[in-house]
């Protein structure tokens, strides 16, 4: 059992490969998380325009990407677009798919946050002479973000986990490299290594989240 799943020799041999995968996973996360946050912020700001012509298409957009599995979106970009003469690399496809998918999730969270700030605050800010944008930037958003911080963190955790989808389109991230190492060594140890690495990196965040969520749900009564 230990020889199969926790083989020391194979761990030593696979370590450089797995490590380079880990670096790419971190790099990928550092790119897609801000990208998703940006997309979400844009959606939420648009949603604060209460006009029906803005509101309904926006809601449909968000629901569309909430209903669409991210892997399907990724495959569509990666395998479908070349037929239209547009060949993007795996990395670019992941970035675009994440921008669309996780942006929608972040957008919903930001929207809930913005709506949690009472309207009187905007009115007060406007009446002191701040422009609409200034009121949003200096008054509403800071409070909104604080109110939905647990949800933002929770979604960020999901986004980091989702980067493992990159392996399907040959982005050399942690899971991909572990699979490579597994097929070279014909031993599952590298995959176990990858799993352990994911767990060690994300566990602190999970602990923190479970505390925040418990408190939030208990406080809602």
């Amino acid at each position: 059992m230990i020889q199969t799943f926790f083989n020391l020799d194979i761990m030593m041999a696979a370590w450089p490969i797995v490590l380079s995968g880990l670096k790419n996973t971190i790099l990928l996360s550092l790119i897609v998380v801000p990208l998703g946050l940006l997309g979400g912020l844009i959606l939420a700001l648009l949603a604060s325009i209460k006009h029906p012509l803005v509101r309904w298409p926006l809601m449909a957009w968000v629901d569309f990407f909430r209903a669409f599995p991210p892997l399907v979106l990724l495959i569509l970009l990666f395998a479908g677009l070349p037929f239209a003469g547009l060949e993007l690399g795996g990395f670019a496809c992941v970035a675009i798919a994440f921008f669309l998918n996780t942006g929608s999730y972040y957008g919903e969270i930001f929207r809930a946050g913005i709506e949690s700030v009472p309207n009187g605050q905007v009115e007060a800010a406007r009446s002191t002479g701040l422009s609409r944008l200034q009121a949003m930037r200096y008054v509403v958003l800071p409070q909104a973000v604080r109110n939905v911080l647990p949800d933002l963190l929770s979604n960020t955790l999901e986004v980091v986990k989702l980067t493992s989808l990159g392996s399907v389109v040959a982005v050399p991230e942690l899971l991909y490299e572990a699979r490579q190492a597994q097929s070279i060594t014909y031993n599952p140890t590298p995959i176990v290594m990858a799993a352990v690495i994911y767990f060690l990196i994300l566990w602190p965040l999970v602990r923190l989240l479970s505390r925040l969520e418990n408190r939030a749900l208990a406080g809602r009564r």
Binding site: F83, I191, V206, R220, R221
Partner: protein, 226 residues
């Protein structure tokens, strides 16, 4: 042929679509089966763990917390790959369908345990004490007093999480499950045309869009008015 015709000819080719429609439909059946299995077993296991945790047996609770944290921090695809490619080295070789089902059920179990547990702990201690002092047993208190209130609280986060995890059935395609995406990809490589992929995408929208809209409705219905 102008550009638009060329575009529809490529992405919405009627001939190809007609040929591969049965494949996509059979893929939909597999996706639905898989999704239902995951939802039922995952939620049942999550609730069972939360109830076990309510017994407050220390070592058992640590074990439950560890399992929950484990499946919350591992990407679902990693769990699927681990079961499908790893387990055969130790003996049993589960099929892609079983690997995907087990993996996503474990993940849903972890997330739903967390949510159920948060719901249970949100019921003030006074209610426990009050119902126990009226002569209700531990399990009567749990099932007749605590859980009905806890459920209401857990429904919005639970629906969201369940949808997100059920969408993960598409991951099954990585381990050769013949669900929608798997069928669509293989049809695409057979026909060298992306139309099946477009059909697959449409199939996902047909399946999941109503669920997302329903979830939005449920969310507003069960929202706690502050």
């Amino acid at each position: 042929m102008n550009r638009w015709d060329k575009f529809t000819e490529t992405f919405f080719n009627a001939k190809v679509m007609e040929k591969y429609l049965p494949d996509i439909l059979s893929g939909m059946v597999v996706t639905i089966e898989l999704a239902l299995l995951i939802v039922v077993t995952g939620l049942a296991a999550g609730l069972a763990l939360a109830l076990l945790r309510a017994l407050a047996i220390r070592p058992l609770n640590w074990l439950i917390i560890f399992i929950v944290d484990l499946f919350r921090s591992l990407p679902p695809l990693v769990v699927i790959v681990l079961i499908y490619f790893g387990l055969p080295y130790a003996g049993p070789a589960p099929s892609g369908f079983v690997s995907t089902w087990l993996s996503l059920a474990f993940v849903l179990m972890a997330f739903s345990e967390e949510i159920f547990w948060a719901g249970i702990t949100s019921i003030p201690k006074g209610q426990w004490e009050a119902s126990r002092s009226t002569g209700l047993s531990f399990s009567q208190t749990l099932f007749n007093v605590v859980l009905p209130q806890a459920f209401r609280l857990t429904i919005p986060p639970l629906t969201n999480r369940t949808i997100a995890i059920t969408k993960g059935t598409a991951l099954g395609t990585v381990v050769a499950v013949t669900e929608i995406l798997g069928q669509a990809s293989s049809a695409m490589s057979n026909s060298y045309n992306p139309s099946p992929l477009m059909m697959g995408a449409a199939a996902y929208i047909v399946l999941f869009f109503p669920v997302v809209v329903a979830a939005r409705w449920i969310e507003s219905k069960f929202a706690w008015k502050r």
